[in-house]
């Protein structure tokens, strides 16, 4: 659970006391209930599940996560770049036989 996809709010209106709107998902537009994101404005991104916005998308957090991935990628690139011929990239340490699942650190 649960199919929730991000979409951009393009229209907000009141329908008999319920905040409704139109949301654009990269070329597909559909009605959605915006009652649970009262702070949403046109242009904001929200997560839609079964025709309801259940959360706003925090752009800053989204960018921060992506930057982290980028940095990680750069680190790997650097490692690979410093490897000479004949070296292999870091492999996983040999784990050995499976330990008891109850074992703590």
């Amino acid at each position: 659970m649960c199919l929730g996809i991000p979409g951009k709010v393009i229209e907000i209106r009141d329908e008999g006391g319920l905040a409704m709107g139109r949301v654009d998902f990269g070329g597909v537009r559909k009605e959605a209930c915006l009652a649970y994101v009262p702070e949403a404005r046109v242009g904001d991104y929200v997560i839609i599940h079964v025709g309801f916005a259940i959360s706003m998308v925090d752009e800053e957090e989204a960018l921060r996560t992506l930057e982290l991935f980028d940095q990680m990628g750069d680190l790997v690139q650097q490692e690979l770049a410093t490897m000479g011929p004949g070296m292999t990239a870091p492999a996983v340490v040999d784990i050995g036989p499976a330990r008891s699942p109850d074992a703590t650190t």
Binding site: M1, L3, I5, F25, G27, V28, K30, H49, V50
Partner: protein
């Protein structure tokens, strides 16, 4: 732990008697018409055995080749039950003509003539019937075929979903052309003439209860010019197929099974328009299983791939054509796809009807 399943023979024989009432397994379901595994099962388990010796058997192709005193005729039939009758990008009339022309074209045939039969539900307005028939006319002229015979029946209210259309078509297959679903061989390249999922999403967008706005139209179009252009540069092509119901995945699986080969696709090479992806994300559907109506798969020797691709792209019908995979000797009958993140998985035929999901 090995990948082999436990010994099937040890399965409890009592459990083999399914407690679900047999009648549930003995009725036709909507899913039997989706073009996926259920449709194949209906053909294999009910229809083909009942036809028995009256049918020549052999692989299921888009059209049959019939030898008539030295000439090879392609002969095909199709029924169209789409609802709504009119959808973004076309209507049932246009769909019917193009669908039949394409079945002929996929066997390498030059389409010659088609028949047109209507089963009309009482109450259908004349204007609608006229508009659809005018679409048939336009599509036939565009495809260079004549509607040479037909039939009309009317049934009571409720007995047909407004209008059902059946068409049959004949065409002539030139010498030297030998296409068939069972002809793919390892080493062949898989080409696709353009982006997938357009027809299915266009239909779904106007489906009652779902309705969404999308700037997509059905891709229904005749493919006989595209087919000839490919055959002109690759007369030794092995398979041509237009993926329709069941999507790209079902068509490729059918070919892999008929030819006894494996097929590998590259997910990021398969053209999927943004709005199709968005609609599929929204509904939880796989674009590989969504219906098409104007796309052509071509499986041909690697040496011909470049020329065939160029031939496709030179035509508007081939806008967006791409190499999407290859035929291999591994895992015969199975289709795998290399995913965007770099892993590999098996892609199966569509099971039944595609149902939107929330999970």
């Amino acid at each position: 732990m090995s990948g082999m399943p436990p010994d099937r023979a040890a399965a409890d024989p009592i459990a083999a008697t399914c407690p679900a009432p047999l009648e549930e397994r003995q009725r036709v379901l909507l899913g039997h018409g989706s073009g996926g595994q259920l449709s194949a099962a209906l053909m294999r388990d009910v229809i083909a055995p009942a036809l028995g010796a009256a049918s020549p058997g052999g692989p299921l192709n888009d059209a049959a080749l019939v030898d008539v005193e030295g000439h090879r005729l392609a002969f095909t039939t199709d029924s169209f039950v789409v609802s709504p009758l009119v959808f973004p990008g076309g209507d049932i009339g246009e769909l019917a003509v193009n669908g039949t022309v394409n079945d002929l074209a996929m066997m390498g045939a030059r389409p010659v003539a088609i028949s047109l039969a209507y089963v009309i539900e009482e109450g259908l307005p004349f204007d609608e019937l006229r508009a659809i028939t005018e679409s048939v006319a336009r599509a036939a002229i565009a495809a260079g075929v004549r509607v040479v015979t037909g039939d009309t029946k009317v049934v009571g209210r409720g007995a047909a979903d407004r209008l059902f259309v059946n068409t049959a078509g004949i065409g002539i297959v030139p010498d030297g052309v030998s296409l068939g679903a069972d002809r793919a061989i390892p080493g062949d390249v898989v080409l696709l003439s353009g982006p997938i999922g357009l027809h299915g999403v266009a239909i779904m967008s106007v489906r009652e209860g779902l309705e969404f706005e999308v700037e997509i139209a059905s891709d229904t179009q005749p493919l006989h010019r595209l087919a000839s252009a490919v055959l002109a540069v690759a007369p030794d092509a092995h398979v041509l197929r237009d993926p329709t119901r069941g999507g790209l995945a079902s068509a490729v699986n059918e070919i892999a099974a008929a030819s006894g080969v494996g097929i590998e696709l590259d997910e990021d090479a398969i053209p999927v328009p943004g709005p199709v992806r968005a609609a599929c994300e929204m509904l939880g559907l796989d674009p590989l299983h969504v219906a098409n109506e104007g796309k052509c798969l071509a499986i041909l020797p690697a040496a011909r791939a470049g020329a065939a691709l160029a031939a496709m792209r030179a035509l508007p019908e081939g806008d967006g054509a791409a190499v999407v995979g290859r035929v291999v000797g591994d895992h015969p009958g199975m289709v795998t796809v290399r995913t965007i993140v770099g892993s590999e998985r098996i892609v199966d035929m569509l099971v039944g009807e595609q149902l939107p999901r929330i999970c």
